[in-house]
């Protein structure tokens, strides 16, 4: 199981903020592909400029392996406070 969180504009595009994906994909790119296959608009938004990913609350670049129970957050460009 992977817990997926969306922040900012992404959550409006998807219409949800948090969900569990079970069984969880083994990598970040596989997770993105799975989400994009279910929701084309979300897939495009995830590939948009400035979108970052965090695994277990740490920013990651490129593809990374996902352990069972991992928390993956997709972050829209940050606005500042």
């Amino acid at each position: 199981m992977i817990r997926v969180l969306l922040f900012g504009r992404l959550r409006d595009v998807a219409g949800w903020r948090e969900r569990a994906v079970d069984p969880g994909p083994a990598s970040l790119f596989a997770l993105k592909n799975l989400l994009a296959a279910e929701d084309l608009a979300l897939g495009e938004a995830l590939a948009g400029p400035g979108v970052q990913a965090a695994v277990d609350k740490a920013l990651v670049r490129g593809d990374v392996a996902l352990a069972a129970g991992a928390e993956v957050a997709f972050l829209s460009p940050m606005s500042g406070g």
Partner: protein, 146 residues
């Protein structure tokens, strides 16, 4: 110390508590940011944070500022959730031996918070809602410290 909270705060109370019991601090500089209404154009702000991530990032920045400006102490309080125009949204205080470091630290921390802190901000207007991104000015202000 960094605190993200949904409840409103009183900047005067925060400042008084921050100044209390200091024997070696010669200077405290504080900044309070207030949500602007844009003459009725903005009915409320919605500020989203990622708990455990947003606070950790800001804490890291506060620690870096503490070392860079030789601060005795730092306090950052930031509202999250729904904020009405006229309400305080952010409070920053820096304590140092002398004023220059305290002024610069507060300025630096605010430039960081306005442009790079991991928040997502949405403006609710009478005609709809829109996500806000840092302005050019916010970005160039923050680059002064790089």
């Amino acid at each position: 110390m960094v605190r993200l909270q949904t409840e409103p705060f009183d900047p005067g109370v925060l400042l008084s508590a921050f100044c209390r019991d200091r024997q070696e601090t010669g200077a405290v500089v504080s900044f309070t940011g207030i949500a602007r209404g844009g003459k009725g154009a903005v009915t409320r702000l919605e500020l989203e944070a990622y708990p455990g991530f947003t606070d950790a990032e800001i804490e890291r920045m506060a620690e870096a500022a503490r070392a860079r400006f030789s601060l005795h102490d730092v306090l950052i309080v930031h509202r999250i959730g729904e904020i009405a125009p006229g309400e305080a949204i952010v409070f920053v205080a820096a304590a140092a031996a002398h004023r220059r470091e305290a002024f610069e630290a507060a300025d630096h921390l605010m430039d960081y918070l306005k442009s790079r802190a991991p928040f997502w901000k949405k403006e609710h207007r009478p005609d709809g809602e829109r996500w806000i991104e840092p302005t050019e000015r916010d970005i160039t202000d923050a680059e002064r410290w790089d």
